[in-house]
């Protein structure tokens, strides 16, 4: 594989950049693989990469119905953070933060990870108390958390509405200075390129049509490009988990919902980090191009549409304008939607199943992007060793029936809870 470097860039300039290697090959599926990963999104590509790198399992195929990186890794708002209160979530995501910090070097692909910080705003004394508790909990897990008062928040986001007569005045906020954003597509491409170079087959335009299960064991997978034998299948198909689980006669604690995001026209730098509104579901950051990137609630009813309806955008931006009045004068450039696995407690599932050789990675709700490296790393471990890693043991499938819910913020399928 050609290394991406300044020297290779100069060298290739002499041949008009026409002689670069393909970033990844386009192979036809083989008859048999050690592991088949279904879903060529961020989580699937990262899983294949860590299977090859950490566990030396390279006879791996990634099967993707469309093109790689075309699902939610291409549709998110690129926020990376680990500001969780519960130990299971905090440890898992802080482990991921360390992978994010080295990702560009490790993948030899500039993912533009930019740790510019996140602030969750508080709008009441009670919310400040809750954030103090969450911040302390984060610090116990080694995550940087800073409780800001109103004046400190005002220094960072002076353009927010700090007037006295607003409905939800800003009391302060909880900041995680090491949080940030990254270039989402580059993450998918970087993982794909490295996985491919280690021998992983990335098979696009290949739809899964069924599974071959006998004696409670996975024997293979049936696809639109032929049957593939394998003993181990990893499902990384957020948004279509219910559809594939139905082919396996499994019912999961997941509903499929639609989440929208939008960007405004580009403007000059005005907002440095990520800010979330504490009195509604609204979050905002500014992209490198200057667009204001915004998101919020689900559309609110089961959906596979991959495009959203207007009332939700209006509702989200109402919250946005209450926080940043200047947004009302910006034109919207684009809105788009992606379909999410909404788990019943708002936390993901990375686990084995009752079918031998079937591994689940699903239920990412609003926050799959930040977990791409940690999810790939732990899921690869779970598949390779056939047992969960201590980092993902809290994300078990049976936590619902056992009553060990990870209801960090209660952000499950019900928008009225969130």
């Amino acid at each position: 594989m050609q290394k991406y470097s300044i020297f290779n860039l100069i060298k290739n300039a002499f041949s008009n950049h026409e002689k670069w290697d393909l970033a990844w090959k386009d192979p036809s599926p083989k008859k048999e693989y050690d592991v088949v990963i279904i879903g060529g999104g961020g989580h699937g590509l990262a899983t294949a990469y860590y299977l090859a790198k950490e566990h030396k399992i390279t006879n791996v195929a990634i099967i993707e119905k469309g093109w790689i990186g075309g699902g939610n890794i291409g549709r998110n708002t690129t926020i990376i953070r680990s500001n969780f209160m519960y130990d299971d979530n905090a440890r898992f995501n802080e482990f991921g933060m360390n992978l994010w910090r080295n990702m560009s070097q490790e993948l030899n692909f500039n993912v533009m990870f930019s740790p510019r910080g996140i602030i969750n705003l508080a709008h009441s004394d009670a919310q400040m108390n809750a954030y103090a508790r969450r911040g302390n909990s984060m610090r116990l897990n080694g995550i940087d958390a800073v409780l800001l008062n109103r004046e400190e928040v005002k220094k960072i986001i002076p353009m927010a509405d700090f007037s006295e007569d607003v409905r939800y005045p800003i009391f302060g906020g909880l900041a995680q200075p090491s949080a940030g954003t990254a270039r989402h597509d580059a993450v998918a491409w970087g993982y794909a390129r490295q996985a491919d170079s280690m021998g992983v087959d990335i098979i696009q335009n290949c739809e899964v049509t069924g599974f071959d299960v006998s004696g409670g064991k996975i024997q293979g997978v049936r696809t639109s490009r032929g049957d593939i034998k394998t003993k181990k299948i990893g499902l990384c198909v957020a948004g279509s988990t219910n559809v594939l689980a139905d082919k396996l006669n499994i019912t999961l604690p997941i509903e499929t919902h639609l989440l929208q995001a939008c960007v405004s026209e580009p403007v000059k730098p005005v907002l440095d980090g990520v800010v979330t509104f504490g009195a509604g579901h609204f979050y905002i950051s500014q992209s490198d191009k200057g667009e204001m990137v915004m998101g919020g609630d689900l559309d609110g009813y089961n959906s596979y549409a991959q495009k959203g309806n207007l009332p939700t955008i209006q509702h989200v931006l109402t919250g946005g304008i209450a926080l940043f009045p200047f947004l009302s004068r910006l034109k919207m450039l684009r809105t788009w939607g992606g379909i999410m696995d909404m788990s019943m407690d708002g936390s993901p599932i990375i686990d084995k199943t009752h079918i031998d050789g079937l591994y689940l990675n699903c239920g990412w709700c609003y926050g799959g992007f930040k977990s791409v490296p940690s999810s790939g790393w732990t899921f690869a471990h779970t598949i390779a060793q056939d047992r969960v890693h201590e980092l993902n043991e809290g994300f078990s499938l049976n936590r619902f029936s056992k009553g060990y819910l990870l209801d960090e913020k209660g952000l499950g399928t019900k928008t009225w809870i969130s």
Partner: protein, 89 residues
Amino acid sequence: MLYIKCPFCGYRSQKEFAYGGDGTVKRPELNQDISDEKWNEFVYLRKSPRGKHVELWHHVAGCRQWFKVQRDTVTHEIFQTTKMNEEIK
């Protein structure tokens, strides 16, 4: 935006309604021993099909009645709405 036909009030905009989730889920019978598994199924497990889905809606800013809707989860086409005591055909 969805345009939903309330069986009591007729067509109204989506803004008047609240979503109530999967309409095929049945609570375990009262006054019987209920296994943890049955509770798990009732509280957490959902089919969430791609395609036709029977679901509950609440006309919360209208007549405040609950009713059933059969909707396509891909196209959002609404095939049928019925009162709670009627079956979707």
